[in-house]
């Protein structure tokens, strides 16, 4: 029953919700970002960050710093917070928290398979994996030759197993098939997560379906734009779109037949929430689309904190941290390469 979850939520989830809200107040603000953008070297960035909550993680790093070190340590902080929450959580919150990491697991699987295809060393690839998406048998992915072996040897024991039923073929893995596999897995994951949230009911279901619908629609637009001009047929493209969201089903029909960006814009402008995103871009331009989508996502994630007694705050917090790490990476790269004029191209302020 919507509205009565306030009576019993605090018994199991009250402590963790309070921790998440406390963590959220330690996200970097616009003033912090302005200070960071004024930095000249990476050591200045390290000094500014040591005044924030990232201090303990960065203070032991020797100079000269690399941008990858900064990003790695910040990600480590996110992983520590996540593990703390996961160990304290009970069902169904613990299942919910695990669902948040399946997206990273899919990315890691694809990373290792692609790297093996291009004959890279397994250890090197394992270091590049996102720590939230690690699972035990991940190193054996390098052995598989085609998708059936991939499933049979490694993935059947992981939580990703049910998502593979739609994309098992006997073809060998090459670049195109791997991308299709990634998108098919992600589609199955989003739909599964959506169903799980609907089962939880209440405020969680309502807020999460809004956030997941936006994610599904954003992926649909990205798939469309990235597959313009490739060999991906319209039918295949349509199969990669998720079965929920604002664009389902009529928007998907229109997106499937698009052949350039202006047609995509025409299809999306019929939906008022997305019209405001596309109106920020001028005709023919697609570089700013990513930033526009990120800004819209951050706005929706911040709105989810307005309500209490639901699980979507955990999802929103993880996403906001990831956005912050992306911001830090962009700023560090710009500073390291002396291109500070381009810093504001891709930094999304959270507060």
């Amino acid at each position: 029953m919507y509205g009565f979850e306030a009576m019993t939520f605090n018994i199991h989830g009250g402590y963790l919700e309070a921790i998440v809200r406390g963590n959220r107040s330690s996200l970097l603000t616009a003033a912090d970002y302005n200070n960071l953008c004024q930095c000249e070297t990476l050591d200045d960035i390290k000094m500014h960050l040591s005044a924030t909550e990232y201090g303990p993680y960065l203070q032991n790093e020797p100079s000269p710093l690399h941008t990858t070190t900064i990003v790695e340590k910040c990600t480590l902080k996110l992983v520590d917070e996540y593990k703390h929450m996961l160990t304290q959580a009970t069902e169904p919150l613990s299942t919910f928290l695990e669902y948040i990491t399946y997206g990273h697991m899919i990315d890691n699987v694809v990373l290792i398979v692609t790297g093996t295809l291009h004959e890279r060393d397994v250890q090197e690839l394992l270091e590049k994996c996102h720590p939230l998406g690690m699972f035990d048998s991940i190193a054996t992915l390098a052995v598989a030759q085609n998708m059936r072996e991939l499933y049979r040897l490694v993935l059947v024991d992981t939580p990703l197993a049910p998502y593979f039923s739609e994309c098992i073929t006997s073809e060998d893995l090459d670049d195109m098939n791997i991308e299709i596999m990634r998108n098919t897995l992600y589609k199955a994951y989003l739909e599964d997560f959506y169903r799980f949230c609907q089962k939880l009911g209440g405020a969680t279901a309502e807020i999460m379906s809004d956030l997941l619908a936006f994610e599904a629609d954003r992926r649909a637009v990205n798939i469309t734009i990235n597959s313009i001009g490739t060999e991906l047929t319209r039918e295949d493209r349509k199969k990669l779109y998720s079965n929920f969201g604002l664009l389902y089903p009529y928007g998907h029909e229109e997106l499937a037949i698009c052949e350039d960006i202006d047609q995509v814009r025409g299809a999306m402008e019929k939906y008022p929430p997305y019209q405001s995103i596309f109106s920020k871009l001028s005709y023919g331009e697609s570089q700013m689309l990513d930033k526009a989508f990120y800004e819209e996502e951050v706005k929706r994630l911040c709105l989810s904190f307005e309500q209490q007694f639901h699980y979507a705050v955990f999802f929103a917090y993880m996403r906001l941290r990831e956005q912050e790490i992306r911001n830090l990476m962009w700023i560090s790269e710009c500073v390291a390469q002396n291109q500070k004029s381009r810093v504001h191209d891709s930094v999304v302020f959270i507060f």
């Binding site: 009250g14 921790i19 963590n23 209490q308």
Partner: protein
């Protein structure tokens, strides 16, 4: 005379109202834990809020004290009745009045404790983010604790009419 209503009356006169008041008090104290859990979590990241937000937990305890007070008042109203007059209408009325008074106080305390606990958790969380909000949300919490007070007043009025027949 030997009908189901008389066996109810016998049960009423034999089950001590203490059971009902004890249940009411236990539930209302237990519910204050709901609010306290949020207080602990919020205090980890913002330790300054602990002393001010103990007020929420104290509200919940005040609700429990209402229950104890009413139980003691009603206990003084219990009196022995001669055997011939146990099923007298007057004594039945007294028994029912005490029962009703305890049920009212017990459930009003339960709901009040629930309400104060939920508002207390929101108060702790918002105080951790922005300390100017504490007093404003505390005012809402005070209105919520008035529910328990209403229950006590109604319970005392009803039980004031519970007089046993003269010997």
């Amino acid at each position: 005379m030997v009908t189901s209503s008389s066996s109810w009356a016998r049960a009423l006169l034999q089950i001590s109202p203490y059971t009902f008041s004890a249940i009411g008090i236990a539930i209302s104290i237990g519910v204050s834990v709901l609010g306290a859990a949020c207080l602990i979590g919020a205090a980890i990241k913002a330790p300054r809020i602990t002393s001010k937000n103990l007020i929420s937990v104290i509200f919940c305890e005040a609700v429990a004290i209402y229950g104890v007070i009413v139980a003691i008042i009603l206990q003084t109203k219990l009196d022995s009745v001669p055997q011939s007059k146990i099923y007298d209408p007057v004594s039945l009325r007294a028994g029912y009045a005490i029962f009703a008074s305890e049920i009212i106080v017990g459930f009003a305390n339960l709901v009040c404790g629930l309400c104060v606990g939920i508002i207390g958790s929101s108060c702790a969380l918002s105080d951790a983010q922005n300390s100017t909000l504490f007093v404003k949300i505390l005012v809402i919490e005070i209105f919520g604790s008035a529910l328990g007070l209403f229950g006590v007043i109604v319970g005392i009025i009803i039980s004031a009419q519970a007089t046993w027949p003269m010997k």
